[in-house]
Symmetry: C2
Amino acid sequence: MYLYLIRHGIAIDLDTIDANRTDLDRSRHLTKTGRKKIQQVAKSLKMANLQFDRIVSSPLVRAQQTAELLIAQNLSSQLELSDDLAPSGNLESWLTWWESRSIHQPISKLALVGHEPNLSEWAELLIFGNVQHKLVLKKGGLIALKFPTDKIKIGTAQLHGLIPPKYLLNDEL
Amino acid sequence: MYLYLIRHGIAIDLDTIDANRTDLDRSRHLTKTGRKKIQQVAKSLKMANLQFDRIVSSPLVRAQQTAELLIAQNLSSQLELSDDLAPSGNLESWLTWWESRSIHQPISKLALVGHEPNLSEWAELLIFGNVQHKLVLKKGGLIALKFPTDKIKIGTAQLHGLIPPKYLLNDEL
């Protein structure tokens, strides 16, 4: 199966004074530029014939908005939220959740929308089994992993793509 | 500095009977589709504002033709050949050659055009210091590495991009 890890787009800044208030961080929304760039990224992914059986997103506003823009471009028709994709989440917990979710309905193309450094760390865990902080995932960027079976398992993935958004921004679109 | 590793495009097949004749393999040229796809990839890289100070290519025809199509799209004005980029070449030998080449003229954006499995193995060596065969580089695909200094050194790179050509093929271009 294929797993796509997508980082949310550019969101509004918090004032320095508020930067540690988790409740405020959860509600940060995409800027106008952030929305526009994600729309362009979504169009380019569609033109590359990407299609997700399901999108699972972090519940934070900037991630949800990113996921909704992917849905608006018909990249998927199913959207679900998972707290494990929030910045405080972790891969093992998400894997347990996903296993119970997918046991009766195998899925071959799944997209996750979330945050850094989580997503690139998850990718390294899924590929190599450990975190080395060697993958750089920009806002609006995408990581494509392929697993040898229909099971998402640590240390078994191959890296098929790490796409910075600048390769997906086409002003002509 | 940035190092870009680019795999040549689709080339003509050799008859099975000739597959082991190195002299014939060296002269395999790009197919019509191979040329067209590399031209599209080159246009997309140009639109993503890529620019190489120099391109160093494998001397094999299919790689040279790929490099020339990148030059034709103004992605660089300098092309050089290196036997170390041929399928029989190796990274350590190329690094020694490159060090003598670049000592008086630091270069910040270098592109190499070559073959698999060499390029993805070189990328893994430059990032992790060892080869794990976890990166998949398709024909016409690109790997983008960033080094913390202007020196290309094993085990020091970060992976900024692994771009399959399908994300760079835009029929509208």
